[in-house]
C-alpha cells in the first residue's frame, strides 16, 4: 500500500500547491518528511526479504497494474527523494510561482511511480507525464533558446514514445499481458522468434530516447544545458535514470545483453569526445551525463550480479555528483555572467567559496578520486566485468572523464569576493556530504565484502593511474581543437539517427540471438 501512496500523495500535494499558493513551501517540507518515512518502511521490508507489492485489478496475474518495491525500484526512488530535497533547498528563497512547485512535485511523484511499476503501458503514460513536466520546466523562464531546446525535446520524445507503443502492441498481441513479471517466462519460451526481436528493438529504441543513450537522446545536450540549474540537476540526476531503469526492466525480459554493451560503449565514447570539445561548462556537463550513462549500460549489459550492483551504485553516485555539479556550475555562471570556462577563469574571484568547494567535490567525485562516490561505484562495477572488451572501454572512459574535467581546474582555486546564499550552500552541503561519505551508502546498497574488495589495491592504482594519464593528455591536447559534427543534433537529422540506432539494435539482437 505505501507503494501507491508515494506517488499519489505527491500528486495530491502538487495539486494543493497550486490551489493554496501560500502553503507551497510548508507543503514541500511535509511531503519530503512523509516520503522519507514511507521509503524507510519500504526499505526495511526489502531488507527483511519480503519486498512490498501492490496490484490493481482482479483475477489472475497479468490483468491490471502491479508494482513491486524491489531493489532497483527502491534505489531510484531514494535517489529521487534525495535529489528533490536538494533542489527544494536550493530554490528555497527564489521567487518562483506555485506552478513551478506543482511541476516539481508531479515530476517526483511520477519518478516514484516509474521506479515501482511493472506494467509497460503504465510506464508509457508515466514517461509521457515526465516528458511534459520536463518540457515545461525547461521552458519555464521563457527564453528563446530554452523554448527551442524544449520544443525539440518534446518532438523527439513523442516520436520515441510512439515507437515504444508499437513495441508494446506487438508484445501484447503475442502474449496477452503487459506485466513485466508475467512476460518474462512467456518471452523466454519464444526466444529467437522474429516478433521478439522486433518488439525488443522497438521498445529499446523508444526508451533509449528518454534514457540518455547517445544515438537516441540527441536532444539532451541542448535541453539540459539551457535550462535553469535546478531543473538541469533534476533532469540529469533523476529523470534520465528513470529511462535507464525501464531499460533495466526490459533487459530482464528480453535478451538485451549485447545491445546494452554496444550502446553503452558508443554512448560513453562519443559523449566524452563531445565533452572535451565544448567550452560551455553546462553543455559539457550535459554531454557528460550521456557518457556516464554509458558506464551504467555496460555494467548492466555484462549481466553478472556484481556488475549489476555496480551499475546501480554508479547510477546513484552519478545522480549525486551530476546534480551537485549542475547546481554549483549554474550558480557560478550566474555570478560571473557567462558559462564559458575561459570567462570563468578570467573572473574567478566572483565565484563564491561555497560554490567552488561544491564544484571541486563534484569534479573529484566524477573523476573517481578514492574514496569518494565515483571511485567506490566504479570499482564495484569493474569487479563485475569479466571480459576484456568492456574493461578496456571503462578504462578509456575514466581517462576521458579526467581529460574533459581538467578544464575546470583553473577556476577552482581563487580568492572569492562574494558569498553564496544560504539555501544554495545548504544544498551543496547535503549533496557534497553524501558524495564524500558515500561508502556507508554503497554498503547499504550492496554488501560489505564487495565494498571492501572495492577499496583493494588494484583499484587504487587504476584510479590514480587514470588521473595521471588524463592530466597528461590534457596538457598535450590543450592547444588543439577537435571538430566534431554538430549537425546531428538538429531536428532534421535526429529522427533519422534514431532510425539508424533502431537498425543497429535489431542487427545486434539478431547476432546475439543466432550466436547464443
Amino acid at each position: 500500500m505505501p507503494l501507491i501512496l508515494l506517488p499519489l500523495l505527491r500528486f495530491l500535494i502538487a495539486v494543493l500547491s497550486i490551489s493554496i499558493a501560500r502553503a507551497r513551501r510548508p507543503l514541500a517540507v511535509v511531503s519530503h518528511a512523509v516520503d522519507a518515512a514511507m521509503l524507510a518502511w519500504l526499505a526495511a521490508s526489502l531488507a527483511r526479504g519480503t519486498p512490498v507489492g501492490w496490484t490493481l485489478g482482479s483475477g489472475s496475474a497479468g490483468i491490471g497494474i502491479s508494482m513491486t518495491g524491489d531493489r532497483i525500484g527502491m534505489t531510484f526512488a531514494a535517489l529521487a527523494w534525495g535529489l528533490s530535497l536538494a533542489v527544494n533547498v536550493y530554490i528555497w528563497r527564489d521567487r518562483l510561482r506555485p506552478y513551478f512547485f506543482l511541476l516539481v512535485h508531479l515530476l517526483v511523484g511520477a519518478c516514484y511511480a516509474v521506479s515501482f511499476t511493472q506494467d509497460l503501458f503504465n510506464a508509457y503514460l508515466l514517461f509521457e507525464l515526465l516528458t511534459l513536466v520536463s518540457f515545461l520546466l525547461v521552458g519555464y523562464e521563457r527564453r528563446p533558446r530554452q523554448i527551442w531546446a524544449s520544443l525539440r525535446y518534446l518532438i523527439l520524445s513523442s516520436f520515441g514514445m510512439s515507437v515504444f507503443l508499437f513495441g508494446v502492441g506487438i508484445v501484447y498481441a503475442h502474449c496477452g499481458t503487459l506485466d513485466v513479471g508475467v512476460l518474462r517466462p512467456l518471452i523466454a519460451a519464444s526466444a529467437g522468434e522474429p516478433w521478439v526481436l522486433l518488439a525488443a528493438a522497438l521498445l529499446t529504441t523508444g526508451i533509449g530516447v528518454k534514457a540518455g543513450v547517445f544515438l537516441f537522446s540527441l536532444w539532451l545536450p541542448a535541453a539540459h544545458a539551457r535550462a535553469m540549474p535546478a531543473v538541469s540537476a533534476l533532469l540529469s540526476g533523476v529523470v534520465i535514470k528513470m529511462g535507464v531503469l525501464e531499460l533495466f526492466r526490459l533487459a530482464d525480459v528480453f535478451p538485451l545483453r549485447l545491445p546494452l554493451i554496444v550502446l553503452g560503449s558508443i554512448t560513453g565514447i562519443l559523449g566524452i569526445a563531445y565533452a572535451v570539445t565544448v567550452h560551455d561548462i553546462k553543455k559539457m556537463l550535459a554531454f557528460h551525463t550521456l557518457s556516464q550513462i554509458g558506464y551504467v549500460l555496460i555494467g548492466f549489459g555484462a549481466d553478472t550480479p556484481v556488475a549489476r550492483l555496480g551499475a546501480l551504485t554508479y547510477a546513484v553516485a552519478h545522480g549525486l555528483f551530476k546534480a551537485l555539479l549542475f547546481l554549483s556550475a549554474g550558480d557560478a555562471s550566474a555570478h560571473v555572467g557567462s558559462a564559458d570556462d575561459r570567462t570563468l577563469t578570467e573572473h574567478k574571484a566572483r565565484i563564491p567559496r561555497a560554490t567552488r568547494i561544491a564544484l571541486a567535490v563534484g569534479v573529484l567525485g566524477i573523476v573517481g578520486l578514492p574514496p569518494l562516490a565515483g571511485f567506490d561505484a566504479k570499482a564495484i562495477l569493474e569487479d563485475g566485468l569479466s571480459s576484456l572488451g568492456p574493461r578496456i572501454i571503462v578504462w578509456l572512459l575514466s581517462i576521458g572523464t579526467v581529460l574533459s574535467f581538467a578544464k575546470f581546474v583553473p577556476f577552482l582555486f581563487a580568492r572569492s569576493t562574494v558569498r553564496a546564499e544560504r539555501p544554495r550552500a545548504c544544498a551543496y552541503a547535503w549533496l557534497g556530504g553524501l558524495i564524500v561519505a558515500f561508502w556507508p551508502v554503497s554498503v547499504l546498497m550492496t554488501s560489505v565484502p564487495l565494498c571492501l574488495a572495492a577499496l583493494g589495491g588494484m583499484h587504487l592504482i587504476e584510479s590514480l593511474g587514470s588521473l595521471l594519464a588524463g592530466a597528461g593528455l590534457y596538457m598535450l591536447v590543450r592547444r588543439r581543437t577537435l571538430r566534431l559534427p554538430q549537425a546531428i543534433f538538429r531536428l532534421e537529422e535526429s529522427p533519422l539517427i534514431i532510425l539508424l540506432g533502431f537498425f543497429l539494435v535489431f542487427v545486434l539482437l539478431f547476432i546475439s540471438g543466432s550466436a547464443g
Binding site: 511534459l132 528563446p144 523554448i147 513523442s158 501484447y172 538538429r490 531536428l491 529522427p495
Partner: protein, 121 residues
Amino acid sequence: MPIIVSFVLLGIGILALVLRRDLVIKLLALGLINGSSILFLVGIGNRPSARAPIHVPGEVATFVDPLPQALVLSAIVVNFAILALALVFVMILVERYHTTDAVRIEVETSRESEEEETPCL
C-alpha cells in the same frame, strides 16, 4: 491489413518530420506518427467477425479485444496534450522570429549570445 497501413503511415510521418522545414508541418507529421501508433494498437485487437465490446442483454457474441481500446483512449488524450503545448511553443517562437522555418530558427537561436537573451512574450 490496418497494421500494414499503420506502418506505412509511420513511415510517411517520419519522412514529413525530417524533410519538411516548416514547424507546423513537423507538428502535423508528429500527429500522424502518433495516429499511426494508435491505429496499430486498435488493429491488434481486431478479431475476425467480432462485434464491439458492449454487452447487449440477451445476445451472445464474440467481442474484439477491449484492452487496446482502453489503452488508445489514454494515448489519444496524452497526444492531444503534447500537440497543444507544442503548438503554444511554436506560436511563441513564430512571434519572436517571424518565421516558421525550423532551420532559420536554429540559426537565429545559436546566433544570439546568452547574455543578451530576453524572455519571449
